[in-house]
Symmetry: C2
Subunit: 123 residues, 2 copies
DNA sequence: AATATTATTCTACATTTGTAGAGCAATTAA
DNA sequence: TTAATTGCTCTACAAATGTAGAATAATATT
């Protein structure tokens, strides 16, 4: 099961705040803010999909993510790679590096990471 | 406008064949194949969205993509990056390199590409 | 105590998506 | 030339999604 775009947007807010009351999430929306019931509906659906949980605090609930952003994200990227690159992460990486306009600094940084990875592999 | 998952799957087939008649696309589907009308409907919607065009050949149409796979893909990735990495491709690249399990060969290849990029930047 | 506010659930409805039958026109086969 | 096949459009319908009002219950305010 995965999140719909609207749900995903809300999830982003929740990931950012770590935990939040409905009101707080609503406040975080850029104008034009949706109706509070809209947010409530989305939260409900996200609970059903087991993407968020909550703890009861007084009469309200404090919501929190049940999936880590990085995990969710990894799935996304993996899906993309499977779809577009024949399941080859390497092929994807090459493409990505060539298509994206990374700055010199970013490229250097990437190199460092890759070297680190290579060191790990070889050790 | 973007493609729905089912449309995207069909698009993949079309990208692979470059151009194809409805029948050919249908044949490319793995079992269980959808009804031909299903494919027809999808093709129609994709025409409306201006993702495919066709040339009339006798009584049939030969369909072809109107958007390049790499362009479509770039948009996807850019969307992801915007969503998840604060619009920083560099941040994404780092994450990706660390999370994905690239082989030694792939890492080496990546390094080559990066060096190439750096050379371009500096020249 | 009476009223307003709030968080949540229920219900609703338009739009998009997945899937495909019915109908039609052109083409091929019997 | 009548019948079967093919490619396409129209129509249909269930499920998912985006959006939000109505109802309810609990709490806070006057």
């Amino acid at each position: 099961m995965s999140l719909s775009p609207a749900e995903e947007q809300l999830m982003q807010l929740l990931w950012k705040k770590k935990k939040a009351f409905m009101k707080e999430l609503l406040d975080m929306f850029p104008a034009p803010k949706p109706a509070s019931t809209t947010v409530a509906t989305l939260l409900k659906r996200m609970q059903d999909k087991e993407f968020v949980g909550y703890t009861q605090v007084g009469r309200a609930r404090q919501y929190f993510p049940l999936v880590k952003k990085t995990d969710y994200f990894s799935n996304h990227v993996n899906g993309l790679i499977k779809h577009f690159f024949n399941d080859s992460a390497g092929q994807f990486a090459s493409f990505f590096t060539q298509e994206t306009n990374l700055s010199e600094k970013e490229l250097e940084h990437l190199k460092t990471i890759i070297d680190q990875q290579l060191k790990n592999k070889r050790s």
